[in-house]
Symmetry: C2
Subunit: 417 residues, 2 copies
């Protein structure tokens, strides 16, 4: 990207010679939109032989291709005109009915009017930002928190306040103190297999958080992309199942079917869904009916559940490979979380290595990429994470994981020596 140099020079050659001043051309909110961490990581993919623990990609070699072929074949045979036409902004009714049955199995009662399909759960975050956040509104997140939520919301100019994460998820005691002092608009968290930290919010805290939300009259955004990817232990109740009215629940098909279908959904009180639907009409009119019908067909005939079962086995092996490699090859003083599910773990590096500054070295010398911890800290809350990294274990083979962690561990040890 050479836009930075253009911005620095403050001009762009116009055909008649007069310059366009790009420093003033854009809306103010664009100053908040650039994520340098992600931009740098895009370059990582270009380095030959790199092993990337940076992305959050599912293992594409296990995509349920035969089932996708079968379902698409059936849809294009039976209902092609509906599949290829515009859909409604709320989403395809049969898919929403299927989602309602999925959520019901998790203790969530949602009606059609309380359920909307979106173009990946990233769009849910964007639309939630659009309908809730006035400039200066206060959002309470975990620290660290999901970088995609920050990307979605930064343009709406909120102020972030944060409660720390520990091994049992968000420090709800800290959230309670913040709620006494700050006019929080909503609480955002990822209670199951947190991105980036891999931890789970324990049962007591789920109940405490709901009580806080009710007492202070705030909404909870429960972001649950990985809930079905559990490799050990028992499922905990969704926060949405504990308090229907105050919780806006969002999930996705990206990790259980494929990111290529660009499908997520939201369950929320009807007035929220109505606003999200209005915002969605302006944002992209409707989500692809073709991919909605695909997800619906695969869901109904059990193909998604079968695929999740396979992924649980594959990702368990990969998580175990990463945990074993870290134990074997990372510096002795390093620490990491031990996730019971999801795609990520979070590691603390000893000494004075700044993981953001160290990343280019890691990419060029160890040919390994990770996401520096600081990327997951909201503006105004970057009081930690400099010695942390997010490591993804879903998108590399056990052999690559062993190799990559050894190369990274050896390099870290060299720099700590």
């Amino acid at each position: 990207m050479s836009s930075d140099s253009l911005l620095l020079s403050g001009s762009y050659p116009h055909r008649d010679g007069s310059p366009i001043d790009w420093t003033t051309a854009f809306a103010r909110r664009t100053d908040l939109m650039e994520n340098v961490y992600l931009r740098d990581l895009l370059k990582a993919a270009l380095i030959p032989g790199i092993i990337s623990f940076a992305g959050g990609l599912p293992a594409s070699e296990f995509f349920p291709i035969e089932d996708v072929k079968e379902s698409l074949g059936r849809i294009l045979q039976d209902e092609p005109h509906m599949a290829l036409q515009y859909g409604s902004p709320e989403g395809h009714v049969p898919l929403r009915e299927y989602l309602i049955t999925v959520m019901a199995r998790q203790g969530v009662t949602a009606s059609l009017e309380q359920t909307i399909v979106v173009t990946g759960s990233q769009q849910a975050l964007d639309l939630i930002g659009k309908v809730f956040i006035n400039p200066g509104d206060v959002i309470l997140t975990e620290r660290p928190t999901y970088v995609g939520a920050l990307q979605a919301w930064d343009p709406y100019e909120p102020r972030y306040v944060t409660a720390e994460l520990d091994a049992d998820g968000m420090r709800v005691d800290q959230a309670a103190e913040i709620l006494k002092q700050e006019p929080v608009k909503f609480i955002y968290l990822m209670p199951n297999f947190h991105n980036p930290a891999g931890v789970v919010l324990n049962q007591d805290r789920r109940q405490q958080l709901v009580e806080l939300a009710v007492r202070h009259g705030v909404f909870i955004i429960e972001d649950d992309p990985y809930g079905s990817l559990r490799y050990e232990g028992q499922d905990l109740p969704l926060i949405k199942s504990l308090c229907d009215d105050r919780v806006i629940y969002t999930s996705t098909f990206s990790k259980t079917l494929s990111p290529g279908v660009r499908l997520g959904w939201v369950a929320a009180p009807q007035p929220v869904i109505t606003r999200l639907m209005q915002a969605k009409q302006g944002a992209d009119l409707s989500t692809s009916v073709l991919t909605q019908m695909l997800a619906c067909d695969m869901g109904r005939r059990g193909a998604i559940q079968r695929h999740v079962g396979q992924l649980q086995a594959v990702y368990t092996t990969r998580r175990d490979a990463m945990l074993a490699a870290l134990e074997r090859d990372f510096p002795e003083e390093a620490k990491w979380t031990r996730p019971q599910g999801g795609l990520f773990l979070w590691a603390w590096i000893p000494g004075d290595i700044d993981t953001d500054q160290f990343l280019p070295t890691a990419m060029s010398q160890a040919r390994v990429a990770y996401v520096p911890g600081i990327a997951f800290y909201p503006r105004g809350n970057q009081t930690g994470g400099h010695n942390c990294m997010r490591l993804n274990f879903s998108n590399a083979t056990p052999e690559q994981i062993a190799q990559g962690i050894k190369r990274l561990g050896d390099l870290l040890k060299k720099h700590l020596a």
Copy 2:
């Protein structure tokens, strides 16, 4: 939708009995987001036996289903892992390369870095709003203008100024006067087969508009969803081909392949594309690679061009059927545009019939739906259109068109008598 009644009552039953105050729950911008015209029209589809001239839907019975099957089959055979994985926010490179060749045939020189794929051109409008519009910024549009652009931009709180449309498109003389007086951020227009009016911006005005944009240092958003759907006459040069640096060009596959693929694109100076890409990451991460590969494969092997040729024949017949029916059955004093392409024409109703107030009568008594003219007038500019309607001719058979226009014409005559 019962959200209105909830808003009126100002409360929503909470599980512990305390109310959620929905009147204050949302961001201020949501006050600008509801489009009552479109909401009412959604209900139209539920009335049995209705003939709808309201939507802008392509004729689904002519979708190129066999070509879609063939291309999807090939993609899922040859490159399924790429098709179902996350894509880059800029879009699939082969599709962007194909789009560059398409635009080159229209005199537009765009590089890969000047081209981004979006989730339908509605997303282009949303992202353009996000990266350009500060609250209070002035946008110059045609009057009437595309309602989807207003839906995309209203949440960013611009102020609209407008130049009238006539049979040769935007009144560029009016635009010139406005540009002397107002700090316009960008000019938005649809030069080819305007939605809603069906008119084309003539060649002289295209050149004049470019000169105005350069002189005043403003951008032009050239929205071109229907350019390839010409039924008579000669193509005029794209505005983008006359002035590369000041023009942000957007188009879509919704009318040439299928709306279900949710694919559009933007060509613009690279600093604009960089900002759009950042905004897109936050909005939905990336567009479906599966549907991008589908469009690319169909485009490369000529299937899109063949389909467009078929649509030109089908829509010519339907346009002619509507023009003949209007001539035969509409009130004598009514007028309408005679579009050389696209999906819509614009009609003026004589007397004191307000087309917005008349719509429920038209739907219940004539069982015909249209979009009232006022829907296409931006906030603060609703100084006309009350006696106008947009009529779509692409999504009904010639027989339905003849029937529907007769029923509507008879009802109008009865009310004018």
